[in-house]
């Protein structure tokens, strides 16, 4: 067990070293470096939704709102404190904490709702956050409102993004492979039964929602320091569907699936940009929708997800 952990850690360190080398030498261009960073940012956010929906079964259509709260909070903190590593770290923490707090405030009341109603309530929450971002300049002119926010120092380098993504995945994996994770999955499987087996379902649903929201907030905070302009449209409720699609495609209850799909998804879109003639660009949306429908009808458990029970094959005494 221990040997395997070291092997994985070594492999990740090696991968980082290789990628960093390729980036520094320019073999990976600034463009692909940017896409790589974006894919990792999306991964962090998708891992958050995977915890909320994939593992705990709480259907959320408002994930982009947490992403936005994280981005704006971090941007505000960073802009106020000015460039510098301490300010940056503080901004990242603030972004994650703010999104987590919002998740707590909204989650406590609405997580009582079941499946489809919860989806609609979170969608409504997403619309509300979008409207608030549009009017955010009334709170502080720094936030810019509908005019958008610029001037956030671009401090999120690859070393930050890579290791924070690894850290987020590691924490999520640890959470899932613990009694907390099993309790979350039991809620997804049968909430009433979980309750009757002594699982405090409200607390665990809220936990998953807060951790998932905080991860989205962290992703947003990184985005704010990697992309020079924040605009409410980036955090529109329709963007929540993108993350949902990643989690569903990756397979509900499969963390590996989520990570692979998130990275693959971002690269696939860029690849399509290169190969698809512009007159067929319009078809992208149609294909996207068809993939979702056909997938749901043919393989509701997701493209890569099998039965999540396969996790039981591992000894938990890692």
């Amino acid at each position: 067990m221990r040997a395997r952990s070291f092997a994985i850690a070594g492999a990740i360190l090696g991968l980082y070293g290789l990628l960093e080398l390729l980036r520094q030498t320019g073999i990976i261009s600034a463009y692909w470096a940017q896409i790589m960073d974006l894919s990792l940012i999306i991964t962090i956010s998708a891992v958050g939704l995977s915890l909320i929906y994939g593992f705990t079964g709480q259907f959320s259509l408002g994930h982009a709102a947490f992403y936005g709260v994280g981005a704006y909070t971090a941007g505000f903190v960073s802009k106020t404190l000015g460039a510098g590593a301490p300010g940056f770290v503080l901004a990242l923490v603030a972004g994650a904490v703010a999104a987590g707090l919002v998740a707590l405030l909204i989650g406590l009341p609405i997580l009582r709702l079941r499946s489809d109603y919860l989806g609609i309530a979170t969608l409504g929450f997403g619309v509300i956050i979008r409207v608030l971002l549009d009017n955010s300049h009334k709170l502080s002119p720094t936030l810019g409102g509908a005019k958008g926010m610029m001037g956030v120092p671009q401090l999120a380098s690859f070393v930050w993004i890579f290791w924070l993504a690894v850290g987020a995945i590691w924490l999520a994996a640890n959470l899932i492979r613990s009694s907390y994770g099993r309790a979350c999955i039991s809620i997804r499987e049968d909430e009433v039964a979980a309750d009757l087996m002594g699982v405090n379902t409200t607390a665990l649903k809220t936990l998953a929602f807060v951790v998932g929201g905080a991860l989205a907030g962290l992703a947003g905070a990184l985005y704010a320091h990697r992309y020079p302009f924040l605009h409410p449209s980036t955090f529109d409720y329709l963007k929540s569907l993108d993350v949902l699609l990643v989690v569903v495609l990756g397979g509900l209850g499969s963390l590996t699936g989520t990570v692979v799909t998130a990275i693959g998804w971002v690269f696939l879109l860029e690849w399509l940009r290169a190969v698809l003639p512009s007159e067929y660009m319009d078809l992208r949306g149609v294909v996207y929708a068809l993939v979702l429908i056909v997938l749901m009808i043919a393989r509701p458990q997701g493209l890569l997800g099998g039965s999540s029970a396969k996790g039981g094959k591992r000894r938990a005494t890692a």
Binding site: I12, I35, V131, H231, S233, I263
Partner: protein
């Protein structure tokens, strides 16, 4: 084991994707006598129609120039930003680092053009937008010029000032109501400036009401406006929304002059509802200047449709860039920048253009009146 395999697959995919892209990147380079230009516009998504118009203007300008800028053959790489700031950054980064463009024309909307200008400016690549009117396209957060960012349209504040001046001096109105989109920086920018200038000239804004980008029912705010009995209504928004609001105003039986901005300039405007309304624009198709006549005639011949403001401005932006490359005689971005900044009285559709210290054009605004027969009548020209 399966999980480990999947994990390795993920990382492998990641690395391969990165390197695969890298190969593409190194293979592209600049040829001897050619110059690469990037074009960024929303070709899909909610701003698609603006992007398509801009692309038509861009294409026409290149075609007229025979795909040449001076002695250089122009190679174009264009991309769709879906009106998404994230995509805009990705695209600009791609064009600069991968395609090695010398300059970028675009983007179309301000929310994408601002981040694109940030990327272009920090990479020292010239960028000129045809249509983005937000002040922060060419200046940074603290108001300092981004030296590599230029634009062809006048900025939001100017149009707002002109409209207010025209309303007070020519229409002789005393009170005005404003309806604007609270989620649209263009609409907000115009509103703020109109309000300021209108008040400074002795007018009173009796109502300033906002709506959202998805709103279609304006009966409530129009009823409120009607109760205030304004002498005129200012509608600083794009043609889609303006058409709906004008229809609601008409249904309410409210009969006062409507005034707007260049966003009205489109074939899809509701001419019946807006007939008699005035708006500020970059040019008038009736203008006898050769630049305007050449543009309008050839545009109609090529696309079998009348040009709108997006097409005209993208056309101007492209022409100015081509001229700057020609004068610079180089594909070096720094030299192009110097040449562009130094352009004097360039004969464009929008008038004889020069750039001010902030990369904004110094030009006059035309006031046009909407006619029921789907055309515009030139009323007057207002100098800055």
């Amino acid at each position: 084991m399966k999980r480990i395999a999947a994990g390795i697959l993920a990382f492998a995919m990641f690395a391969v994707a990165g390197c695969g892209g890298a190969q593409l990147g190194t293979s592209s380079g600049t040829g001897g006598q050619s110059v690469k230009i990037g074009f960024i516009a929303p070709l899909t998504g909610d701003a698609k129609t603006y992007g398509e118009s801009a692309k038509k203007g861009f294409d026409l300008a290149l075609e007229q120039a025979g795909n040449k800028a001076g002695n250089f053959t122009v190679a174009v790489t264009s991309g769709d930003d879906r009106n998404d700031p994230t995509e805009g950054v990705n695209l600009a980064t791609k064009m600069i680092s991968q395609d090695k463009v010398s300059a970028i024309v675009g983007a179309v909307t301000s929310s994408v053009t601002i981040p694109v200008s940030e990327v272009a400016n920090s990479s020292k690549i010239v960028m000129i937008t045809g249509t983005a009117t937000a002040a922060k396209v060419t200046v940074d957060d603290k108001g300092a010029r981004k030296p590599y960012a230029f634009r062809a349209p006048f900025i939001d504040p100017f149009q707002g000032q002109v409209a207010a001046k025209f309303a007070v001096e020519n229409l002789k109105v005393k009170t005005a109501a404003i309806l604007y989109d609270k989620g649209n920086d263009y609409s907000i920018g115009l509103t703020e400036e109109f309000q300021k200038t209108f008040a400074a000239k002795g007018g009173t804004v009796v109502a300033s009401l906002s709506y959202g980008k998805d709103d279609t029912d304006f009966s409530a705010i129009v009823t409120n406006v009607a109760a205030k009995k304004p002498d005129m209504i200012y509608l600083p928004d794009y043609y889609g929304k303006v058409s709906l609001i004008a229809a609601a105003i008409k249904a309410k039986g409210l009969n006062v002059p409507l005034v707007g901005a260049d966003g009205w300039d489109s074939n899809d405007l509701d001419f019946a509802a807006l007939a008699g309304g005035y708006f500020t624009n970059h040019y008038s198709a009736d203008d006898p200047s050769p630049a305007v006549q050449k543009f309008v005639k050839e545009y109609e011949a090529k696309y079998k449709a009348k040009p709108d403001a997006f097409a005209a401005l993208a056309y101007d932006a492209t022409n100015m860039l081509l001229e700057a490359i020609k004068q610079a005689g180089s594909t070096d971005s720094e030299k192009i920048r110097t040449a562009l900044q130094g352009l004097k009285e360039f004969p464009a559709v929008g008038g004889k253009l020069s750039f001010d210290a902030n990369g904004n054009p110094i030009k006059a605004a035309a006031i046009l009146q909407v006619q029921a027969n789907k055309s515009y009548k030139f009323i007057t020209s207002v100098q800055p």
